[in-house]
Assembly symmetry: C2
């Protein structure tokens, strides 16, 4: 008799489980489950930059494990950042506290392509590989480690804008103004994501998520022309039998079908699109991840519980559901509330396809 799949992997594969057993759980984890909402995170994290913390294997392991212990979630996600590969090859990226990724010399012209050499993960980011290995050794079989990378578009937007943006003006001007250069940039960033994801998979990550956080800044036409081929290249290059390929961005209601067509086996859905509607926008066989509104978790528990139940109800009849927030955990949230969300999903979610 074979070991049953952990709930996360079963749900990602769209397989039903058996009610009343571990396999019948709707699995749940939270984007940004490791982070400022946890007092133990703030206590341990110290004053260094996030890139320093990521490069410290022992610290990165512990920060990854904290939410698994506290919440009893069904997945760990590597403590890292989407700009790690670009920073590691020397593009000059840092993550400023309270701001986000900042780039001293943003990407401006073809000459900047030279600053994007291939990533040799074992040499450039050995700490990522070591952290994944250590986590895989530590985690129980039923809690898979999710590796991740930034999708080419979202990383490009940081490199081009030089800092977080709400308008993506320079990024859009570049893609529309010099399409050849844009595709060269995206191709190199796809290679970075591929190298990083492969190194994490080889080290034992059992699922990967490609974060295209800001893809929803584009309309479907522009997404299909300027982004989709590069995200598809990433998924094609890392796909392996049984390995869930999760894809996520906010404001992506119009893009869910296109993003799934890049090769995702699991589509993350932000809180704006009800899961029953999201189902209609992705191909059969693609699992869904999401999509509780993170801000609603600041409301009294009765309201949070009602929202959790609504998410579960809208996915009724489909075993392919990984419960998550519709975006990352907000720093202001009470961890006790998130712990109760996990309990409720485990108690009431039904992964038997009814």
């Amino acid at each position: 008799m074979t070991e049953p799949l952990p709930p996360l992997l079963r749900a990602c594969a769209g397989l039903p489980g058996e009610p009343g057993t571990l396999s019948g759980r709707v699995p749940v984890w939270f984007m940004r489950q490791a982070g400022r909402s946890l007092p133990e995170y703030r206590a341990l994290r110290g004053e260094g930059t996030i890139l320093d913390a990521i490069a410290n294997v022992e610290l990165a392991c512990e920060l990854t494990l904290q939410p698994v212990r506290r919440y009893g979630v069904d997945a760990a996600i590597l403590y890292s950042d989407i700009v790690v590969p670009a920073a590691a090859i020397g593009f000059g990226v840092d993550v400023a506290p309270g701001t986000g990724p900042v780039v001293e010399h943003p990407f401006r012209s073809a000459a900047d392509l030279q600053r994007l050499r291939p990533l040799e993960a074992d040499l450039d980011t050995p700490y990522v590989v070591d952290t994944v290995r250590a986590l895989v050794a530590e985690l129980p079989d039923e809690v898979p480690l999710i590796g991740f990378a930034g999708a080419p578009f979202t990383v490009a937007s940081y490199l081009v804008e030089g800092r977080p943006t709400r308008t993506w003006l320079r990024t859009k001007a570049l893609m529309h103004g010099d399409e050849a250069l844009w595709h060269q940039l995206m191709d190199r960033l796809a290679d970075l994501a591929i190298a990083s994801l492969r190194s994490q998979i080889d080290a034992g990550a059992r699922a990967v998520q490609l974060f295209d956080s800001w893809a929803g800044a584009l309309n479907p036409q522009d997404y299909a022309r300027f982004v989709l081929p590069h995200s598809r290249k990433v998924f094609d290059a890392v796909a392996r039998p049984g390995l869930p390929l999760i894809h996520f961005g906010v404001d992506t209601g119009e893009l869910l079908g296109l993003m799934a067509s890049a090769g995702a086996t699991v589509m993350g859905v932000d809180w704006r699109v009800p899961l029953d509607e999201a189902r209609r926008r992705v191909p059969d066989g693609v699992a869904l991840q999401g999509n509780l509104d993170p801000a609603v978790c600041a409301a009294p528990w009765e309201a949070v519980a009602a929202a959790v139940r609504d998410v579960l109800r809208r996915n009724a009849g489909h075993p392919g559901h990984v419960f998550n927030l519709g975006h990352g955990v907000l720093p202001e949230l009470d961890p006790e509330v998130l712990a109760r969300v996990v309990e409720l999903v485990h108690a009431e979610g039904r992964a038997d396809g009814t």
Copy 2:
């Protein structure tokens, strides 16, 4: 023989025009067409706050007219701000340069309802009424003045958060946590919008736009429960035969049908939803406004022109189209490009329903 309707009013009514004549134009205007992208705006605006500028009738008129003269757009929109009514009744709202609306004492409890007395437009905002009257006297018949107000939800989000937010955490916590108080707040804000819009209509505004800029922060369930009844109350109270009622917010792809059902006769569409898809989400007879991606206007002209043509093409066959951006003009944009957009829409848009 009656005077033909101005292009804006014809399109809002969904009526075809005659190709080759003024009536056959696809009308075009730009949200935030008066503003920092115009050198003549920066030269005239001076150092005072935006609320000071709005209270100066001569200045507000001139700032409203600048883009009409420069671009040849088919509508003027009152130079004002959605927080004007709340500020005028003394809630303690200011608009901080580079930040946006800030509230010294945010809305926190039932006691704060007392700070939201009814607006007496003639007494509280006489400058708005005077500016509308002066503009209507000045503008040619074919360029209607659009009045506007902030929708209850978007104004509430500023009053509750105290400043612009990307998470709407306190707003969502309030609506889910104290639904009775939430509805009382929204009811008072609906009354503010109604009083302000009525005063603008009575003074001669020939169309109104209700800006629910941030409604897209909500999923459809929450929008329907916490917002829709109040926006509907506003539209019901100001509706008059022949008066276009325009409704707009960003990130509202999932809400277009619901927002239209509030009573809008014209739905504004952000750039994320292609107009042919937006058509499928609103009832027959509702006109569309939009939806060129404002950031794409930073690209070389050929790319801008292609994007303009794509917007026109996706609306082909429907006379009910008001060309606009999918959000406001960005300060970085070159006014020359926007002038060429107007020319192109006038040259190639066909409002004959083919």
